[in-house]
Subunit: 191 residues, 2 copies
């Protein structure tokens, strides 16, 4: 039998994966518990706020995993233009590699739940904010003025968020490659 903390962790990891694939509304507690192998009995002990609390923790986990991926890509490319092309490649390979099932881990939840649950809405906003800050700081370090770096980071984030949506729908990575090429022009230092 898994340790308490391990079963709590498994539940969050499983929830994060299911939320990415099918959103919050279609993901029932029963499915999460079955796939995670976590005992039903301790669910409300671990998550007194129920499915909503679990959802918010799953969003935060997915957000920090993505932050690690963004951080690794940015660490390899000090040049913003190269960094955005590499980010586009990373995400489009990931998406295509999952046969277009795994897009941005939190977008579906953000859309479905923004008007339904302020807890989930805010959990998503915190995650988007953390991705944005990481991009902005990278652009500042590369020489962009802070205000412009913030706007550039927003453009990059919005573009790739949208690319995830359209790429899944089209089953094509064209949205990533074309978008990344143009973004590279915009974020280039000295333009």
């Amino acid at each position: 039998m898994p340790r308490m903390s391990e079963s709590r962790e498994n539940t969050i990891v499983t929830a994060a994966r299911l939320l990415q694939r099918q959103g919050y509304a279609a993901t029932g507690l029963t499915q999460i518990l079955e796939e995670s192998g976590a005992p039903k009995g301790s669910f409300y002990f671990h998550f007194p706020g129920g499915k909503e609390q679990l959802g918010a923790e799953a969003v935060a986990l997915a957000g920090s995993e993505m932050n690690a991926i963004i951080g690794a890509v940015l660490a390899r490319h000090a040049d913003p233009a190269k960094a955005v092309v590499a980010l586009g490649k990373t995400w489009s390979s990931w998406l295509a590699g999952s046969d277009y099932t795994e897009g941005c881990p939190i977008t579906t939840v953000a859309l479905e739940q923004s008007s339904q649950s302020s807890i989930l809405r805010q959990a998503c906003a915190v995650v988007f904010g953390s991705w944005h800050r990481q991009l902005r700081d990278h652009f500042v370090a590369a020489g962009h003025a802070p205000v412009r770096a913030g706007a550039l980071a927003r453009l990059v984030l919005c573009s790739f968020e949208g690319a995830f949506v359209i790429a899944r729908s089209e089953r094509s990575t064209a949205s990533f490659s074309e978008t990344a090429r143009l973004l590279a022009e915009v974020v280039a230092v000295g333009v």
Copy 2:
């Protein structure tokens, strides 16, 4: 009692509105029929493909309504830079005016259903394609080379799709205004 065709039409309009607000998974047939006032008995006569067919028709309707909005904005602004700023303003006013409940009408469905239903996935891809073509043709008419116009249209579409997601989550129109300002630089003719 409404005419047959009228009740069919009402059902599609109601479904489109609910899909925009809460996605496909959370929208049950019962809610659609109750809110549309359409008789339950004739549902499968009108929609032999069931909820999936209704969903695809609702996506197509939402797509053509948005095409009309995009067309109206583009008709007022031949200059691509002014056109994208106006599009950003139109969409952000619309979103803020609905208290951040009404984002892109098809994104939630596209995300939730791309891996679940090829009928709904393709309905969304057709709609994204029609918006893309309209933007691309406008950029070509303004003097951009066709291939670049296509890429620019993709960047604009992806950016605003992403802005809808992040704006709803943040309850702020900053994603639209900052993104539109930068997009205006990129799409300007002669850059």
